[in-house]
Structure formats: C-alpha cells, structure tokens
Assembly symmetry: C2
Homo-oligomer: 495 residues x 2
Amino acid sequence: MSYSKLCERERERATLASCASLLGWDERTYLPAKGQAFRGDQLALVARLCHEMLIAKETADLLSTAEGTTLSDAERANVQGIRRVYDRAVKLPTELVVALAKATSAGQNAWEQAKHQNDFASFQPYLQTIIDLKREEAKAVGYVDHPYDALLDEFEPGAKTIELQRLFDKLQKELVPLIAAIQQSGIEAPREILERSYPVESQRQLSEWISEQVGFDRSAGRLDVTVHPFCSGIGPGDCRITTRYNERAFAEAFFGTLHETGHGIYEQNLPVEYFGTPLGTACSLGIHESQSRLWENFVGRSKPFWHANWKRVQQTFASTLSDVTEDRFYAAINDVRPSFIRIEADEATYNLHIILRFELEQALLTGDLKVADLPGAWNERMQKMFNLKVPRDGLGCLQDVHWSAGLVGYFPTYTLGNLYAAQFMVQANADMPDLASQIASGQYAKLKTWLTTNIHSHGQRYSAGELCERITGKPLSHQPLMTYLKAKYSELYGI
Amino acid sequence: MSYSKLCERERERATLASCASLLGWDERTYLPAKGQAFRGDQLALVARLCHEMLIAKETADLLSTAEGTTLSDAERANVQGIRRVYDRAVKLPTELVVALAKATSAGQNAWEQAKHQNDFASFQPYLQTIIDLKREEAKAVGYVDHPYDALLDEFEPGAKTIELQRLFDKLQKELVPLIAAIQQSGIEAPREILERSYPVESQRQLSEWISEQVGFDRSAGRLDVTVHPFCSGIGPGDCRITTRYNERAFAEAFFGTLHETGHGIYEQNLPVEYFGTPLGTACSLGIHESQSRLWENFVGRSKPFWHANWKRVQQTFASTLSDVTEDRFYAAINDVRPSFIRIEADEATYNLHIILRFELEQALLTGDLKVADLPGAWNERMQKMFNLKVPRDGLGCLQDVHWSAGLVGYFPTYTLGNLYAAQFMVQANADMPDLASQIASGQYAKLKTWLTTNIHSHGQRYSAGELCERITGKPLSHQPLMTYLKAKYSELYGI
C-alpha cells in the first residue's frame, strides 16, 4: 500500500517533470526568440515544484513505511532507487539549489558570448561561482574518497573517481600508440568526400529513413532540427530526437541522427508499466551513451552497415557521390586524426578529449587547478595529448556548454558509453553469430530486441556495473573497445 | 504588500497554466500519435495543480487582506478580477471538476468518431452526461435569471442570456431579409475562383507574410500547421497561431491566418507588466473574437485591403489567377450563401449559425430540449433559418467540437465578436479618417496601435460592455454590423 502510494507520488512528480522536458525541447526547437526569458520562468517554476514534491514529508514517510514492508525484488530495487534520489535532494539546502540555478542560467549566457568572442576572461567569474557552488554541493552530498565522487554519482550512480581514473589510464595507454601508428601509417582517409554538397532536403529524408530503419518508432516520437542535437524522452509514447543539417557535412546529420536514435530507442523501450519510477528510468548516463554510440559507431560506422546502405546513399546524392566507391566512403567516415573539437572527433581520439576534461574538472574541484589557469592547463594538455596548439579558447576550453551549465562529473559518462558499447557488442555478437550478416542485409530488429531484453527493459533495476556483469559476465574493461578499434583501424590503415 | 503577494501568487499560477498552454499547442501541432494518452495525464495534472493553487487558503487570505487595503483603481480592478475567478472556482466541488474533465475527455473522443460516422446515437450518452454535469455546474455557480447565465459568465464575464437573446433577435430580424435579398439578386459570386489550384508552399509563404504585415510579431510568436486552427498565447514573448493549407481552398489558410493573427496581435499586446493577473489578460472571448474578425473580415475582406494586396496574390498564383480581376476576386471572397458548416460560412449567414446553437444549448440546459431530440431540432431549424435540408449529422449537430468539450455558453461570443468588431471599426474610422487609405496602401500600423491603445492595453480593466461604451460612447448594438453588411452587399449584389 505504501509502496504503491510512493510509486504513485513519484509518477506524478515524473509527469510534472515531463512538462519541463517538453518546455526544454520546445526551447531548443521552436521557441520564438522573445519567449526566452519567460521560458526560464516556466522551467524554474516546474523545477521548484518537482523539488518540493520530492522533499516533502509525505515522500519521507512513504519511503520509511515502504522500506519496512515485505517487498518483491523489483519493488525493493524501486524503493532503493527512490531513496537514493530523495537522500541526495534533501541534503541540498534550498539556497544552494536556487544559487546553482541562477549561476548556471547566467553562466550559460555568459559562456555563449565568451565562446563567440574567444574571451575566457569574461566567463571566468561565472565559472568561478559555479565551481565554488559545485564544491559546496559535493560537501553537502558527502563523499568518502574524492569530492568528485559526489558529483559523478548524480550521472553515473555508484561510480567512483579512482576506479574511473584507473580504467581511463589503461585506455589512454593503449589509445595513444594506436593513434600515433595511424598518423604514421602514411594513409590519409579521403575526408573531403564528406564535405561535398549534400542537399539538406535529401539529408533530412535520409535521416528520417535510417532512424526508422534501425528501430526508432516515429509514431511515438519525432525528429526535429536544433543547434546542439539532443534526445528528450518526454514520456510514454513520446520521445523527441533532434539533429542539424549542413549541406557541406554529411556526417553531422547522418551520424548525429543515428546517435540520438540510439538514445531514443532506449527511451522508447523502457518498461512503461514502471514509468516515473527508477525501474522505468534509464540506468545511468554511461549506459545511455552506450546505446547512442552503439548505433552511431559500432553499427553506423561498420562495414556491414554500409554494405546494406551504400547504394541508397549513393543514389540519394548521385551527382555528389558518382565517383566514390563503398570502400572509399567507408574510409572517409572512419578518418582518424587529432582535432580540437570533441563532438567532431573520431572514435579513437574522442576518448582523449574526455580524459582531458575528466582530469581538469577534478583539479578544478579540489582547487589544484585555479579557474584562472584553466585555459593554460587546457592548452598544455592539448599539446601533450594531441600535439595540437590551441589557437583560441573557442576551439579550446570554451567549446563545451557543460561546465557553464553546472554539469561537472558528466563528461566521463561519454567514454563510459564507448566502453560499455564495445563490451556489449562483443556479447551481442557471441549471442547472435549472424549479427553482422543481419546488419549487412539492413536488418536491425534482432539487435534492437537484444538490447531491449538485456538493457532497456531493466531500467534502473541494476546499477551500470551490475548490468554489465550480468550481460557480459565481466566487469567493465577497456579491452573490448581497444580490441575493436585495433581491428578496425589495422585494416583501414594497414597497421 | 498583500496585493503584490496576491499578484505574485497569481503570476505563478499563470506560469504553471502556461505550461498547459504549451502542452496543448504541441498536442495539436507536433505530438506523436502514441503520446496522446500521456499528454492527457500531463494536462490533467497541471490543471489540478493550478486549481489547487487557486482555491488554496492562502489565496483566500491574500484576497481578503488586499480587499481591505487602500488600492489604486487599477489595483482594485485587478483584485476584483481575481476575486471573480476565485469565487467561481471554490463554488465548484472537486468531484464535479474531475467528473467534467473525464466526461469531456471521453466526450471529445466519442464525438470525433461519431462525427466521422455520422452516428449521433453513439455520441448521445456522452453528451447527456456532459449536459447533466453542466447543469450541475450552473447550479453550483449560481444564477438569478437563467442557468445559462452561469455558464456564459465564464467566457463573457457579466453577459446575461436575456440581453444577448434580445440583441440576437434584432440582428436576426434584419439579417434574414438581407440574406434573402442577396439570394434573390440573381447575382452569384464567382466562388470557383477560390477552389482552383493554390500550391501549398506558396500559400504558406503568403500566410506568413500577411500575418507579419498586419502586425503579428514573428520574433515573439510562430505560425504552425494544425487540423482545427487556434491561437494560443503561451506567455510574454510567446504567442502561437496556427492554420491549415488545402491546395483547393484559398480562403481557408489566408483568412484563417488573418483570423488567428487578430487573436495573436491581441495576446502579443496585452500589458506584459500585468502578466498573470486580470489586467494582463484578455477582456472576454467576445472582445477576443472582435480582434480576429476585425482583421479577417473588416480588414481582410475589404476593398482597400485587396487594393493593396491583389497584385502580390495574383503574382504569387500567376497561372491560377491570370484571368481574374481584382473585382472578381473581391466578389469571390465575399460570396454569401446559406451553407451547412459554420466555420465556412460568410459574414452574414455566420451569425445565424451562432443563433441556432445559442438557442439550442439554452434549451438543452433547461431540459426543454432532450439530448435525444437534438438532431431533429437542429435539422428543423436549419430548414427554417437556412432553407437547407441536413443530409447527415456530420453536416449538422455533430459538426462542432464545443459541446463534447463541455463548452456550453461559448458560441454566442463568436457573434459578439462580429458585433464588437463592427462597432469598433465605426469608431476607428471616425478617429482616423485616413484609415481606409492607409489600408489601401498596405499600412496597418495605425489601426493596430489604435486597437492596442483602446483595447489590448486594458486587459480586463473594464468589462466588455464598459470597454465598448468607453471606446464608442454607446452600448453594444446590432446596428453597426448591419449597416456594414448592408453597405458591402448592396454594392456587391445590387440590392
């Protein structure tokens, strides 16, 4: 009784929060310019009402009572998940929540201007305030080993900084020589192919088509245009993904759409009967990202995938691609080279971008790195890790929105996503020996069903680590990703 | 102090309600099919939270305290407006509110099917429930003369059934012979011109253009596509209007857009400093409709307007309109003839459609007309008033969504809009002798400013009746509309 009342209450909170999801989606797709300020008021109000609903005495009472009753395993997992969110929320003083909301709202505006003008100095005081508040947040939430743990936990429940650092160190150690070998191979991918003319309307049709092909349910979702693509699971039967079209950048919309489609398929296949409770919610950001990366890269940048889809793409852009072969196209979309911008990075160097940020934000949080010294530290690491000299902060420490939005502890989930995706794909191939040939014939349903059965359907029933062990029999490791990258690139670059 | 706290509280409620506005807009423009059920949950939750916020003890306390303090005229008007809404809300038992929400949600679904299948019998039990509940609502709200007063008051504050009936009787008495004279004139408008081929993309561009021309601020609003067009003022800087495009129906999108543009201009020019309180809210539905009708008909179907815009329209649809003159086009868009469908009716017969509904819904409410007898009563009146035999209920009593949505007492505001628009235009022409020549040269700013100064800027400071007297020096009358229609049609039909 208290369990079902607790779930009912949480469902209501999720329904209210879903209104904010729609407000957010609209803000980034259709909102008229002059509606921006009021949209902020709407979002702030809904966020406050959700927070009040969560930390109300009724929630605490229902939680305690439910914890004292006999529950099934699923019910217990659900109650534990609610407890986790509740405990975190009540630890945060309301003044801190409000201060963070204001600081990140102001911070994002300041960041946008600063990025545009390559002017870190103008952003510095805003970032200082945000880092100070995040430090307070970490203290309020509490931690044993590292203040970063307290922030990481919000995005990747149960993850520990020290363990991630170990994992990422191993990854970096193997990635760096692989990237060096590619650079020294003397083989250069025909990147220019992707920068030819791809009429936007044809790109749009292709994106919508491929999204549905791999399993996004358009009758329960939409694909719209935005500046910084995202996926928003509004609620049962309603998941919105977004992309952007640039006539001179084939990869941007195509792989961007596949990426968001992966997130969207996860959201669309969460168990609807648990909507609004942990068992109906995605496991972690790392697992979420594993789904987007899996469709974008492990499927979308694979040979079998292009075996199935090359002809259609070539016909769609007939005059643009008449002189290109399937192999050359495959080489172009798997171009590896160090670059400044994370979101444009290839499958190998991408993870170095993450490691750089992961280490810098730890140092910012502990105070080992002063905010004023961020650009210097960033540029120094870019030189060391990528052998690149950052010409301006817009291509450096000002490129990402995350810190201005208070998202500290978020970046590592991107590389976790790559690692999980690689490890899941090893198992998927073992479970379905015909998987590659399925994909080569444009059949994705079996893989999608496998993902739903093994991942989507569990919501937060297991932690990300537990889920990984359940599916693959092993804890998360850097090896599957490295094995995958080495195999792929040794063939492409003859290394 | 209590006044500003009260306003703050109401602004918050309005901000929450504005989330429902966006949910509603999205439901009718972009929502994926499978998201429908959950959208209902979201809307129901927000409606409940708004209702709870309104009827909470805090509102009552702040209201009483504010009423006991010294207030400016504007403040007093604001407090009175809040009192009105509060008093109505607390009179409604929560069970009745919930029952109505359920009955109208089920009712609209049933209506849609019934309309599609011309099957009144399947809709009858739903309508019966709704009428029963509306009767309860009228009783709960209370009334002196007629239960219909209690419902009418929600849409047209202060309006009385008996006064509307008198006004509409006078209107009908003069409309009927005018329409008869037009029918007997022997002149038939070249309606087929409007049913030629008008490519949708050109219509879209034209609609967006004319909407901005007359004064809709696209940086503070949008024009999207929907099935049943509407305008939704989300909040400051954000007003959404909608239209629909049909290649074989020029008038639908063009005049539909002008209509919603009129609503949109009203919403966009309400005083933003009063947002969320009565002084920042549209006066009444009748006044709202006066703004849409004014731009759609009094401007959009006028000779000066087409003097300014004919060439552009002819060029836009060059192959379609090459053989058409400005005069013939003007005649086509002012075709008068009795027809089955209200929303497609001309400026004269439209009001008979309203009078028919106004009388029938009064009779349904008092019980003088049984729900089961509605189709018969409808068809009988159509015969008498329009000399038309209704072939099926989809063209008859099932054509409008209103009753299935619980909107009883809403229809008369449409004709009130026509009457107010006519009376306002007489005054506008008196105040601005060059108005017609302004419009003839495509200049609408002066009229828009006049409307904002005289109407929009006041919000609910004055009742609709007071506003009319303030602006025109006279109470609302059927004469200005009749004078306008007679002048226009005597020229067109030589009567």
